[in-house]
Symmetry: none
Subunit: 227 residues, 4 copies
DNA sequence: TATGAATGAGCATTCATTCAT
DNA sequence: CATGAATGAATGCTCATTCAT
């Protein structure tokens, strides 16, 4: 495993700069609204250099999307070990932070807006983002079913229910209203309510879990630090 | 009430043709990706004629959006009178048919993709589409709470939960995968599951309602005709 | 000589309206900057009607120019009979009023600006405007030479000298500075000075004539009413 | 003082080519009649390249005008030292050559034709062309008055008289008849006559000066080489 | 006859892409 | 290798001109 030469390193740096610039500009302006000049300028390099790294606008777009797909994997968290309700609260906040972050929302808007022209990208994003997230949830929920904490037949449906209860409303709204991100308080409202419904429907001992949830809420443990 | 002259009628027809063409092309290509030539060609008329009706690309886009917003109001249904579970099943299919129709999905993708450049349009769509739908659900659920069938504190959250349980998953997927619309069977799966969870969490007599739901499902009454 | 029918009269009226509109718009916007829509709108009629009277933009332009050429003939005055100096003063003011009128200046700018593309029009204007004016001056000056009041060999040169002394400076300036027409006082200054030089150079009794001029100036008879 | 790099030189060359092309095409076609394609083609370069140098048609027009205004300053001459009459003859020919050159006439027509749409340009031209020329004449005439050769009160009027006597007629005609420039003989006729009238009116010893003028004319010294 | 409506051709301007340095 | 400079092919929009009513 030889260390990359200085030249090679330089090359990689530039590529990253172009990809970061592309992400920013494409997310802000959309595919057709983005010009190669904008990307080059944002990267602080020249247009021919950009073309040396990516042979066309479309290639740049695809490469940027692949790159983002890779980045997205890092969202998933491990259970805290403080019990299911605490785990779910923790997961929920992690998902909310990720899914409602301005950057990811911009990216999602971009993909949704361009998906008819680049169907592969929609599929790729679906597989690497939502699908992976969903399967992470599924794994956890299945483990809890094994542990006797939850009861359900179809883990996928249960996971989708959790996601839908917790994040569907704020995310849909955030997609349509880019200048009014939900506040922490609003997120908390959706989150607590969603978890409550989820536990009512899926917990094997709903009263206890709802009480625990209430405790966590009362203790302010569901609230995260303001930005 | 004079009938519109032939001239006037012609004018209205052409305007409609342009708006329909604009909807199609904008939905397929996005705002920047759409050219006035494309719209004119799709409408079977010439570009200067298009400009006689709409003074700019942006005006055409806005007019098309207003027009679509007006169309969207017609979705709402009245309760069937056959009981709450039957009502909910009926509502659910109506919403699913509307929300998952290719045309409305295309329009939603367009709006989401352009919302950073046209924030007003996102707001307008939110108000005339989702908000109105949500308030329709809220009204019905509140009535049922009055009737003692449901129990909840916050009608808005309850309505959002219903929507999120039933349609969040297929709609999110449909947004990302434009060429693979969910089948009726898949929709049915989400729908039945969502209603089950909703009833478990919100019904004042969950067992009875779940049984009713099961009956409706067993009787195939939740399935609608294939396209 | 039958009177024109009402139809015919209507036709002539419309033509005049179009020509007047064309004069106004062409003078303001230049040839290329003028659109047939502008002319039709200014005339309060429709574009096809305009085309019924003039088969093309160029034809309209030429017709308007011919029409204006005909109008220009009416400027010339007859001697007042109060003596040469009074005549010259009177002529000078008449010329100044005509040549420095905003409308004629606009027309002159239009012709000068378009003369490379429409050389005939420059020639036509030259013949019907300046040339005719010049020959009027020549006739008067020649008569005065016959009467022994003036001495010169070449009447054309004498006439051009008179014109150049009196109007060259304010007219040149007015052509270049369309928003600052010379005031009556400025015109008077050029005019009195020009006449003085002319008389010094051409009069057979310069002292007497200069004294007369001084008298007229002193009596304020060279000043005309302010606009 | 570093020499400009080859790149820089190239840039300057191209800019000059564009400006020269713009002068030619604008002068021939007027502002609205000129297309950026024409200018680019005349310069032998492409339209986008033209836009790289000048961000808009209007900017190109203004830049060209500024450039021409700078060129105009070089016309002024110094007295020959052979006496006032010889000086005036020399001046007169210099002015005539400049003012009646096809290029300057074209430029003047362009400015006059566009001055209503670009009033600043008319003012700028007036200041850098005619005003400067006039003040040069005024200075010389004032010096001669100091020397006792001329008598007048208002130097500006005297200078304008000189200009008007000498050049008003041929220049006015040349503006209107672009394809028939005055011949040298015609210019000479206007010139000699104008100087004669000027000396008659302003010289302190008219007979002597007129005789000198006659001598210079007789000696053919007022004639310049044919083009 | 007069006009609302329609359009082919063009114009200012921009963009993805390539070449020469 | 990196870049300033160049361009063919659009793109939004307009105009002179024509048709159908």
């Amino acid at each position: 495993m030889t260390a990359p030469s200085r030249r090679e390193q330089n090359r990689i740096d530039r590529e990253k700069r172009f990809l970061a610039a592309a992400l920013k500009v494409f997310a802000e302006q959309g595919y057709s609204g983005t010009t190669m000049d904008m990307v080059a300028a944002e990267a602080g390099l020249s247009k021919p250099t950009l073309y040396q790294y990516f042979p066309s606008k479309e290639a740049l777009f695809s490469a940027m999307m692949s790159c983002e797909r890779d980045h997205m994997l890092e969202v998933f968290q491990h259970p805290s070990g403080k019990g299911m309700v605490a785990d779910l609260v923790s997961f929920a906040w992690d998902y909310a932070d990720a899914v409602l972050s301005p950057d990811l929302l911009s990216l999602a808007r971009l993909i949704i807006g361009e998906v008819q022209r680049f169907p592969e990208i929609g599929r790729a994003y679906q597989q690497s983002g939502p699908d992976r997230l969903l399967s992470g949830i599924m794994d956890y929920l299945s483990a809890r079913r094994e542990a006797g904490d939850l009861a359900f037949e179809d883990a996928e449906l249960a996971a989708q229910d959790l996601w839908g209860l917790i994040l569907s409303a704020p995310r849909t709204q955030a997609l349509y209203l880019p200048d009014t991100l939900p506040t922490r308080a609003e997120i908390e409202r959706y989150l607590n309510n969603g978890l409550r419904v989820f536990l009512k429907a899926y917990s094997t001992r709903p009263e206890a879990d709802l009480a625990t949830l209430q405790t966590l809420i009362g203790a302010g443990q569901t609230k995260r630090g303001e930005t």
